[in-house]
Amino acid sequence: MGDVILTMKGIDKSFPGVHALDHVDLEVRKGEVHALMGENGAGKSTLMKVLTGIYHKDSGTITYEGKEVEFSNPREAQDAGIVIVHQELNMMGHLTVAQNIFIGREYMKGKLIDDKRMNEEARKLFDQLGIDIDPTETMSRLTVGKQQMCEIAKAISHEAKVIIFDEPSAALTEAEIEELFKIIRDLRAKQMGIVYISHRMDEIKVITDRVTVMRDGGYVGTLITKDCTKDDIINMMVGRVIYEDPKTESAVSPDAPVVLKVEHLNAGRMVKDVSFELRKGEILGFSGLMGAGRTETARALFGADPKQSGDIYVNGKKVDIKSPQDAVKCGIGYLSEDRKRFGIVVDKTVAENSTMASLEYYMKGLFINKKKENEAAQKYVDLLKTKTPGVDQLVVNLSGGNQQKVVIAKWLIRNCDILIFDEPTRGIDVGAKSEIYQLMSELAAEGKSIIMISSEMTEILRMSDRIVVMCEGRKTGELSIEEATQERIMHAATLRE
């Protein structure tokens, strides 16, 4: 670690009704990877927005390269060398890689854009990073991982001295994360200051040098990563101890009835001849790398996407699922990985979202019985301990974890017996995560059967009774929880044909 390049001291920021940042400190040195951790809503993003001039601080000082600064917009921060690589990628899918990287500052030849020069410059950047991307490729044809590399290349092309990674690994495969880490280590070696925001404890231990923890808009403390344990960090984040022990034995007896049987399912390019069984009260984990076809399998099973062939049996009876409507009739509920797009209607209330799949139960003749609807929603708000001021609150105002609970309520109210949880804890903070885990365990104990798709190994090992592993659209492994290890799962997940 080198000299201090960036110091934020006593940063204070209030919004009407919310004290978002309460005298927060952050110090970044040259050649260090500095983790910024905290639950959702702890103020990490707000702090970074203050740094890059999106928000303006109420008080406190920002010192950058020895001078006090205050950027009035992200452009100024960028010009000074402070760049954010966002979690959600800001790419123009129809433009090429090089055009994306140099957008807004194109190389010109007279009055015309010099695409050739831009491609060359982009290639130089990629060489520098040691990654293999064709600058003339159309952006939308790249994988999410590659797109992120382009974001990083773009950041570096700004001659960045401080790079902020905002949950960079959320959408990446394990292999892509490895590549990302390699690049981050390179950048560190080049004496850049790196701020790394992530929820994944394992990554923090692997890649970062120091950790600053925030809680409820306040500064909790800064630790040297190698001197502290996971539990230390978690304790600072939530003020309580959470154990992430793997499950050791299945909670389901081997002769429990099969509630769902899928045979030779084929759908699109991503689902090839997938067969599996789900037993009553079981949590069946679906593991695999990103792009293994797990979500596609779930969507085809649920009727959200068309399938080419394959048979589905619910409680032993063959069913024909052509649309989500059919699936719901069979008692199947699907919680999408992309809550905002597929799970909830953000500008509607908790009650309206909760009864979305089962409105017919809450009718009085032709009309919706608002009172009964609210009671049902309230019952599940209480049951799932959803934190909301009331059932008439708009879902957009809830945190990610609580939004997820509203989606769960939707399917429980519908009385679905088979629930597909697709990445149930993505983007959800640690505290809410363990609540969702507990909820899933309780549901399984009550006899609901759950398919859980997850890209987090710890989640798979902690929750599943049995594990199906997929790779490139095929089922490449099935393990009982007793025999499952991280290595065995990874082995199956990389069993390419």
Binding site: V18, P324, M363, I368
Partner: protein, 333 residues
């Protein structure tokens, strides 16, 4: 940080929140406009002006209420303007050229609306066409159809003095020497029914949900295509009602007319707070927005501002209304 409400005491007032800020603002401006026109123009103060404002409001209100449903699903129906003419021409042709009873003319008019609404709905929900394009095409089709049906002739529905002219009396009933705007009753009746439908029934709830997040609605096991189609059917039927109101209020209807009226109706809905991006809108707001449009339409000429100025002023009002919508969406993002 769950509480994102950062309004003041006024915007947080429960009554204001229930009615909606935009509607209150539009209503206030409407009152100010009425006061202004009344004090500046003596013609505006006459009872006949009041009647003509109502005449200009009825048909526009029906059209706008219908298209509100399409707008709420995130779509639009451009065929309502020329459609209104086409359906009224078809119905009127039955009466004037085929000597059918008036009731047949009325039923033909409504049936035409229903059929075209269904066709629009099918193209959008099953064919997957963008609503703008689909209804732009049907807008042209009905414009041509109207002229073909009547053989290019103008049609006038029976006048109020003839025994077949009772459709006109339905909207303007004479009691003693004065004529009363009975049409208010029909417009309000339809408005109440549609409002109940939108807010209290399952199809209504689903139509709003589709506009907010179509994919999430579909994945909740709801037949999205059916409800999307329903919105266009409602729009078609309302256009049929609008056609009846129009031909009852005005004299002859020229074939291939009506173009541009759809934009006034859509404009009224938007001024009343319906979002162009879908997911929100109210029937009451649309009625207020339509009154706003018709008062402008009748009032501006009376203070000496002719058609060209009207267009400019309505354009500016729409920009402001859409900007309010943009601000609302920003708060959600």
């Amino acid at each position: 940080m769950t509480d994102k409400k950062n309004g003041n005491a006024f915007t947080n007032n429960p009554l204001v929140r229930a009615i909606g800020l935009q509607k209150i603002v539009v209503l206030l401006v409407l009152v100010v406009m009425l006061v202004f026109f009344t004090s500046v123009s003596s013609t505006f103060r006459q009872y006949s002006t009041v009647l003509s404002i109502f005449d200009a409001t009825y048909y526009l209100a029906f059209l706008a209420m219908g298209v509100t449903f399409c707008l709420i699903t995130g779509g639009v129906d451009l065929s309502i303007g020329t459609g209104m003419f086409c359906y009224a021409l078809a119905g009127g042709y039955m009466i004037t050229h085929k000597d059918m009873p008036v009731i047949v003319g009325i039923l033909v008019t409504l049936a035409c609306g229903l059929i075209m609404g269904t066709i629009n709905g099918l193209i959008v929900s099953r064919g997957g066409h963008a609503p703008f394009l689909a209804t732009l095409c049907t807008m042209m089709i009905v414009r041509g159809l109207g002229a073909i049906i009547t053989g290019g002739a103008s049609i006038t529905w029976p006048s109020s003095s003839s025994p077949n002219g009772w459709t006109r009396l339905l909207f303007k009933i004479p009691i003693g020497d004065t004529r009363y705007p009975l049409g208010i009753v029909w417009v309000l009746l339809v408005a109440v029914l549609l409002s109940l439908f939108l807010n209290k029934t399952r199809p209504g709830r689903y139509i709003i949900a589709i506009g907010s997040n179509k994919e999430a609605t579909r994945l909740s096991g709801i037949n999205v295509a059916n409800y999307q189609m329903l919105a266009y059917i409602i729009s078609g039927l309302c256009t049929g009602l609008g056609a009846l109101a129009y031909c009852s209020a005005y004299q002859s209807m020229a074939p291939s007319g009506g173009g541009g009226i759809e934009l006034n109706a859509i404009g009224g809905a938007i001024i009343g707070g319906t979002s162009m991006s879908g997911g929100s809108g109210t029937v009451a707001g649309t009625i207020i927005g339509v009154c706003f449009m018709s008062v402008l339409q009748i009032g501006l000429p009376m203070i000496g501002l002719q058609a060209n100025y009207q267009q400019i002023i309505i354009g500016i009002v729409l920009i402001v209304a859409v900007y309010i919508d943009v601000l609302k969406n920003k708060k959600l993002a």
